[in-house]
């Protein structure tokens, strides 16, 4: 599916991934992935544990050797290709800071090694962060570490931001603050955000596109709104469950004498109650399996 600007001109593709495969021994972590990511979008990457989300991101950053091609703005990315970071910022789990440095030393280090550093943005973020500059990173709370990671990443003038389960282990207040800060300080129509997260319900309203990945394969890549109109929650009394089960739904939930399934919007069931599904529901309907992805 090709995304469009308001004037119906296709957005330029920034990341172009062709026939990407990655094996860890006999385990196929990525299986012939083809994907194009346009500029100016917030894209979610959803998959179960071990589905290949982190491997895909690491291939996009040149961290892993792989088969196939990954290009950014027409330039092919090779293994350990540092030039990719002139355009891309990456936030993995926020606890991945260097504990041996102080906050000030961390800021000075990134400022020194990364020519994309924007001192104005950094000062602005620092002013609202109340980070203790002389404190060693290992002495910071998880919330403070999140602020520091955001500061050093959002102070970079890059076009892409890749977030790999960035809020893992954070409480709900910091998770909310994390995404609000990213939206407020980073995102505009020229920038792209790819977010891999288990807490899809928290970013669902931000996402413009969604990618489902399962067993190393891209199952779906679609605009969120279009996807949500393609499916709906169909609820019927338990005694009429055969009417929905005939469509072989991958996910079935039973509550108080009712059965709910996710079905294609084109399917009409007599006397059924219809509701709009969220992304987790649709994921379950398409991919199936346990609720790990929620």
């Amino acid at each position: 599916m090709i995304p469009f600007l308001d004037n119906k001109q296709p957005l330029p593709d920034a990341y172009d991934i062709r026939n990407l495969s990655k094996n860890y021994g006999k385990f196929k972590a990525l299986d012939n992935v083809n994907l194009t990511l346009p500029e100016g979008k917030i894209i979610g990457l959803l998959g179960k544990n071990g589905a290949g989300k982190s491997t895909l991101m690491r291939c996009m950053l040149g961290f892993l050797t792989h088969d196939g091609e990954v290009s950014l703005d027409g330039r092919q990315i090779h293994h350990r290709d540092h030039k990719v970071f002139e355009q891309v910022g990456f936030i993995p789990d926020v606890s991945g800071l260097d504990d041996r440095l102080t906050v000030q030393q961390t800021i000075d280090y990134i400022k020194g090694v990364n020519p994309r550093w924007n001192d104005g943005t950094a000062q602005k973020l620092l002013a609202i962060s109340s980070l203790p500059l002389t404190k060693k990173v290992y002495k910071l709370s998880k919330g403070m570490k999140t602020k520091l990671y955001l500061l050093i990443t959002l102070s970079l003038d890059v076009k892409f931001l890749l977030l790999d389960e960035p809020t893992l282990g954070l409480d709900i207040a910091f998770r909310k603050e994390f995404f609000n800060t990213i939206l407020g300080e980073f995102f505009d129509e020229t920038k792209t955000l790819l977010i891999s997260t288990h807490q899809v319900e928290e970013v669902e309203d931000l996402l413009q596109e969604i990618i489902f990945i399962d067993e190393g394969k891209i199952i779906l890549h679609e605009e969120v709104e279009s996807l949500k109109t393609r499916f709906r929650i169909v609820t019927v009394p338990t005694d009429k469950k055969d009417l929905v089960m005939v469509h072989k739904p991958k996910s079935v939930s039973k509550t108080l004498g009712f059965v709910s399934v996710i079905l294609d919007s084109s399917i009409e069931i007599p006397d059924a109650i219809y509701a709009r599904p969220n992304l987790a529901d649709i994921f379950m309907a398409i991919v199936g399996g346990s609720n790990e992805s929620n």
Binding site: R80, K83, V84, V113
Partner: protein, 284 residues
């Protein structure tokens, strides 16, 4: 230039304790000596009375000045080599062990620059600290020896410089070798690297025994390149005559010899091999 400076500062912040280990060791030694002197002074002992050098030949005094400086630098050098070995693993694998490798590798920084700066911090950092400690120690030691026993200050300082150069080449070789091992093994590179050398040595010996080959011992060769020795084998008559100027000139020849050249060559090979191995690493 900014990147290089930032990298050097970061490595300094993260590894300064290991880098200045020789300084702590020598400072600790001086503290113990000073404490001993203080206790003796409090007990009312005459410290100068214990040092009777009136009957010692001047050539013997020169020998003492030269050899003691060589030996002391060798001892400090041993500590420097141990700290450099520890650094080789910490600098290469420290980011990985501290789970912050991705942060450091997510910067637009060429692997060659990153690798070279890390290597230079390990080698030059260790050598600078060693030189500073050895120099200060030699200045104190030779001043005291000159005042107390009348030994030659110049000969003493020459011994220090020769000892330093000897140690410097050994440190360069040993730490480069284990630097390369640290790029191969992310955990316990010292143990695994040593085990690899041991395995090769055993294989060589078995082959020599079974097939009758004459492959030279790799362990013996590596130990020779790693050692800091004050060798008098070629100059025993002169040692008996305490011909210190001759020994000093022999030492200069040895420093400029083939072994040290080979240490530099092997170090360069280890650096290049380490770079390609490090570059091949996957970042998980």
């Amino acid at each position: 230039m900014n990147q290089t400076k930032a990298l050097i500062i970061k490595e300094w912040h993260t590894h300064k304790r290991t880098l200045i280990t020789p300084l702590f060791a020598v400072a600790g030694f001086y503290a113990v000596v000073l404490l001993g002197l203080l206790i003796n002074l409090i007990k009312g002992h005459d410290l100068m009375a214990t040092m009777n050098v009136g009957s010692v030949e001047p050539s013997t005094l020169s020998m003492i000045a030269w050899v003691s400086n060589l030996s002391v630098v060798a001892l400090i050098g041993l500590i420097s080599i141990i700290s450099a070995l520890s650094l080789s693993d910490n600098i290469i694998n420290g980011d990985h062990k501290k789970h912050c490798e991705i942060l450091h590798l997510s910067q637009p920084l060429s692997i060659l620059k990153l690798f070279t700066v890390k290597y230079m911090v390990m080698i030059l950092g260790s050598l600078i600290v060693l030189f500073a400690v050895a120099l200060v120690n030699a200045l104190i030691m030779n001043s005291v020896m000159n005042y107390v026993a009348g030994t030659s200050f110049v000969i003493g300082m020459t011994g220090m410089i020769q000892g330093y150069l000897d140690v410097a080449f050994a440190l360069l070789f040993v730490s480069s070798l284990y630097w390369m091992f640290a790029t191969i093994f992310k955990s316990k590179p010292f143990f695994k690297g040593t085990l690899a050398i041991f395995s090769i040595e055993v294989t060589i010996r078995i082959l020599n025994y079974l097939v009758g080959w004459q492959i030279p011992s790799i362990a013996t060769y590596l130990i020779r390149l790693s050692s800091v020795t004050i060798s008098f084998n070629d100059s025993m008559p002169h040692v008996q005559n305490l011909d210190v100027p001759y020994l000093i000139s022999m030492k200069w020849s040895s420093i400029a010899g083939i072994d040290n050249l080979m240490k530099v060559v092997y170090s360069a090979i280890c650096f290049v091999a380490g770079y390609f191995i490090f570059k091949k690493r996957e970042v998980l």
